[in-house]
């Protein structure tokens, strides 16, 4: 690790932070709107319109966090960008195809002829599924250090299935906040179904990662770290318990029109994602590719990084500011999506 007082030392660290936050923002924000797409087949036509309305004003900005995250990887860590995206070429292509499909289906479904609407609905679901699966698969391969063995691919497939469940959980708990009536109660059931698959995915990654790398094993299972890090799995378990309990209690309350605690499952799920992300980041740091490439080895020239850093420091707070503004404008239950 270079001197952290020198630009070569701290700039890569700062960009890792920006990239991490962008990816986290992407996973949580696009996670819930991808999740809404994943739940599409279970809803009737009127409900589909309301589900779309709940994410309509947001999905575009949500997806922009992916552009920022990948953009930072590209511009700040060019060496890692080539290695990572080269190894993930086909899943990346599939994810992009998925994102393209759902992004346009979103818009086409309301504008195309009525007879085509069901096709675009299907495209919206398939696109969301493809994107979620591909992202989970990529996460699995990243954790496996881009190992090409059969076992690694099977593991990646498992993670893909679990991430689909995780996004569905985010989507369903978002719908609990943004909708009402039968759709809201159905969202509670969707969330209950997705909860356990999400837990399985987190457990699988938590077990596999340390077993795969001695270095990661040492980082976790070593005093005093074992004690210092214990709050991460313990808080995760606690959040799962809180979400599960809330989902059990909500149907009765919601049937009475009582919205108290409707936000608990979503907030709890976001908390679970934050903790899982933090655990993963702790395991990987300071590597971008496990045990192969550190952030300092992969970083671009300091003078270029500084130019971007100055811009990011000025602009990112503004972005966060107007994003919060947009979410406030569209707070409350999802209304009809109307241009006027």
């Amino acid at each position: 690790m270079p001197e952290l007082t020198s630009p070569e030392g701290w700039l890569p660290l700062a960009f890792l932070l920006v990239m991490g936050l962008a990816m986290l923002a992407y996973v949580v924000l696009d996670g819930f709107d991808l999740g809404v797409g994943l739940l599409f087949p279970g809803a009737d036509d009127a409900e589909k319109d309301r589900m779309i309305a709940s994410i309509g004003p947001f999905w575009d900005t949500n997806e922009t966090w992916l552009v920022l995250g990948v953009g930072v990887l590209l511009v700040a860590f060019p060496a890692a960008h080539g290695v990572i995206l080269g190894a993930l070429y086909l899943p990346v292509a599939l994810m992009l195809a998925g994102l393209i499909l759902r992004g346009v289906a979103f818009d086409f479904r309301v504008k195309a002829r009525a007879v085509h609407k069901s096709h675009w609905n299907r495209a919206f679901f398939l696109g969301s599924l493809l994107a979620a699966l591909a992202q989970g698969y990529m996460l699995g391969l990243l954790v496996m250090g881009f190992d090409t063995s059969m076992g690694a691919h099977l593991f990646a497939l498992l993670i893909a299935a679990c991430l689909v469940a995780g996004y569905a959980l985010l989507g369903a708990t978002w719908l609990i906040i943004k909708t009402d009536g039968a759709l809201q109660r159905r969202a509670v059931r969707w969330a209950q179904g997705a909860l356990w698959w999400t837990a399985l995915g987190i457990v699988a990654i938590s077990v596999a990662t340390p077993l795969l790398s001695e270095r990661i094993f040492a980082k976790w299972f070593n005093l005093p770290y074992l004690v210092l890090l214990a709050p991460i799995p313990l808080s995760t378990a606690l959040l799962f318990f809180i979400v599960a309990r809330s989902l059990r209690r909500l149907p009765v309350r919601l049937a009475e029109g009582n919205e108290y605690g409707a936000w608990v499952p979503f907030a709890g799920t976001v908390g679970i994602f934050l903790l899982a992300f933090y655990g993963l980041a702790y395991s990987l740091f300071p590597y971008l590719v496990i045990d192969r490439l550190t952030i300092w080895e992969a970083a671009a020239a300091p003078e270029s990084l500084l130019i971007i850093f100055v811009g990011a420091v000025v602009v990112l707070p503004m972005i966060i500011g107007y994003t919060v503004f947009a979410y406030r404008v569209f707070r409350g239950k999802a209304a009809d999506l109307r241009y006027d």
């Binding site: 309509g56 004003p57 947001f58 575009d60 997806e63 922009t64 552009v67 920022l68 990948v70 953009g71 930072v72 990887l73 590209l74 511009v75 700040a76 060019p78 060496a79 960008h81 080539g82 995206l85 080269g86 070429y89 086909l90 990346v92 292509a93 599939l94 992009l96 195809a97 994102l99 393209i100 499909l101 992004g103 346009v104 979103f106 818009d107 086409f108 504008k111 195309a112 002829r113 671009a300 020239a301 003078e303 270029s304 130019i307 971007i308 811009g311 990011a312 602009v315 972005i319 107007y322 994003t323 947009a326 404008v329 569209f330 409350g332 239950k333 209304a335 109307r338 241009y339 006027d340």
Partner: protein
């Protein structure tokens, strides 16, 4: 190495396909954003509801174009790394900050305020809604600014030095405002406005021909024709200046555009012909003496360097030659139609049936001209990726050909379906528009109380 060549070719086709598909939609949103602002400001100034109806219809086309632009743009950001790792390894220190500034200053701005612009009309004040329209337009233009700064730098690199084969910026001002940037930026902005002018005029004429006599139809038709008639001459002037700039910095490209094989003074302009790189001549050439020298150097006897001075270092001649003629031909057509339309609409408020039919035919002429123009400029830079610094072959990734083939097939299929769907849906929306309720006429949805619209003046 045959397999390596195949992979390079496939990677190039894939990149060309991705960027060709992508450029269609920013081309529309860049200018349409400003046109929507114009509609909104006209309404605020006159109180005439036809301008709000125009806004209501074209904002739908904007949303659709924007969605396609966003999703195809995300593909672009991945392509740099997956297909052209050598690009980022060599000039990443230059390209990185420019791309990063695009995301930071433009992407988030557009994406966030688009939500408010599209769906926030009843939830925010009219002032905020207009501000959102302004910010979206500014965002699309900023996006074009950064991308064209990078693209122009690839044609006329400046403000950098090579250390161990890697480019490092020495003067960011010179990087951004590199020699060809002002011309390229102006040329592309005008191209976008012309594309939108003819799209708006064409779709409005299509509605007109179907008997849709809503006041907004005539208003947008007239706006489109006026915009086209005004801007085509400006574009021809800017295009000429852009050509002079290219001659100074990329003489091989200009020689390929004109299919000039030998260096000569008082070079003739080849109107048509079939450039043949093997025989190094142009078959069946129709020429006008001295005109190429006059146009390119503004001197009857100006010297033009021929392709034979750049053997193995000049772009493929035929595609550049033909794409340029297609672009210029469409420009001339746009000029004729623009002038005809302007004269007719000056004398008579309504379009003649013939004019309406021609305008419908010209609806997507801007797209074709823009694609042809980009082919001229991008193929014209070959074999370089960054002129004089990095060749395309050096930048290609080692991804095996079959892998690229699979993703290419996937993208091509998707692009064909989506382009067809886009065009059909635009016309379907146009057919439905006459049944749409006037903008802002229905009951208020839930949300905080907002300022009422400006009352129409009596």
């Amino acid at each position: 190495m045959a397999s390596g060549l195949d992979a390079l070719l496939l990677a190039r086709i894939q990149f060309a396909a991705n960027i060709s598909f992508h450029i269609l939609f920013p081309t529309i949103t860049i200018a349409l954003g400003w046109l929507l602002l114009f509609f909104k400001l006209r309404f605020n100034a006159t109180g005439d509801s036809k301008w709000m109806d125009a806004y209501g219809f074209w904002v739908k086309v904007f949303a659709l174009s924007f969605a396609l632009g966003v999703v195809s743009g995300i593909t672009m950001s991945f392509q740099f790394g997956t297909n052209w790792p050598g690009f980022m390894n060599t000039v990443g220190n230059i390209a990185g900050p420019l791309l990063a500034y695009e995301v930071l200053t433009a992407f988030f701005l557009e994406a966030t305020f688009l939500g408010i612009m599209l769906f926030g009309y009843r939830r925010v004040s009219d002032g905020i809604h207009t501000l959102a329209t302004v910010l979206v337009a500014v965002g699309t233009t900023l996006s074009a600014f950064w991308i064209l700064a990078l693209n122009s730098w690839m044609h006329t690199p400046a403000g950098f030095e090579l250390r161990d084969g890697v480019a490092h910026a020495t003067d960011w001002w010179a990087v951004v405002f590199n020699p060809s940037f002002p011309y390229r930026f102006a040329h592309m902005m005008l191209a976008s406005f012309l594309t939108v002018a003819f799209l708006v005029a064409g779709v409005s004429a299509w509605r007109w021909r179907r008997g849709d006599r809503a006041p907004a139809v005539l208003a947008t038709l007239r706006t489109g024709v006026a915009l086209g008639a005004t801007l085509v001459p400006v574009q021809i002037l800017v295009g000429d200046l852009h050509g002079l700039n290219a001659l100074e910095h990329q003489p091989a490209k200009v020689a390929a555009i004109e299919a000039i094989w030998e260096t000569e003074r008082g070079a003739a302009l080849t109107l048509f012909g079939f450039p043949d790189e093997q025989a190094r001549t142009t078959h069946a050439a129709v020429k006008i003496p001295k005109l190429a020298s006059l146009i390119l150097t503004h001197d009857w006897n100006g010297e033009l360097r021929g392709l034979n001075e750049f053997v193995d270092e000049h772009p493929p001649v035929a595609p550049v030659f033909w794409a340029f003629r297609l672009m210029v031909g469409l420009g001339v057509l746009m000029l004729l139609v623009g002038v005809w339309g302007a004269v007719r609409l000056w004398r008579h408020p309504e379009p003649s049936p013939a004019l309406a039919r021609v305008l419908v035919g010209m609806s997507f002429s801007g797209w074709v001209a823009v694609l042809a123009g980009w082919y001229v400029t991008e193929i014209g830079r070959q074999p370089w990726l960054v002129q004089g610094v990095l060749s395309a072959a050096e930048a290609a990734s080692a991804v095996p050909a079959p892998t690229i083939g699979v993703s290419l097939a996937l993208y091509l299929l998707l692009y064909a379906v989506l382009t067809t769907a886009y065009v059909r849906v635009v016309f379907y929306l146009a057919a439905q528009a006459r049944h749409a309720a006037p903008f802002g006429s229905r009951g208020r949805a839930e949300g905080p109380p907002v300022m009422p619209y400006v009352q129409p003046k009596a």
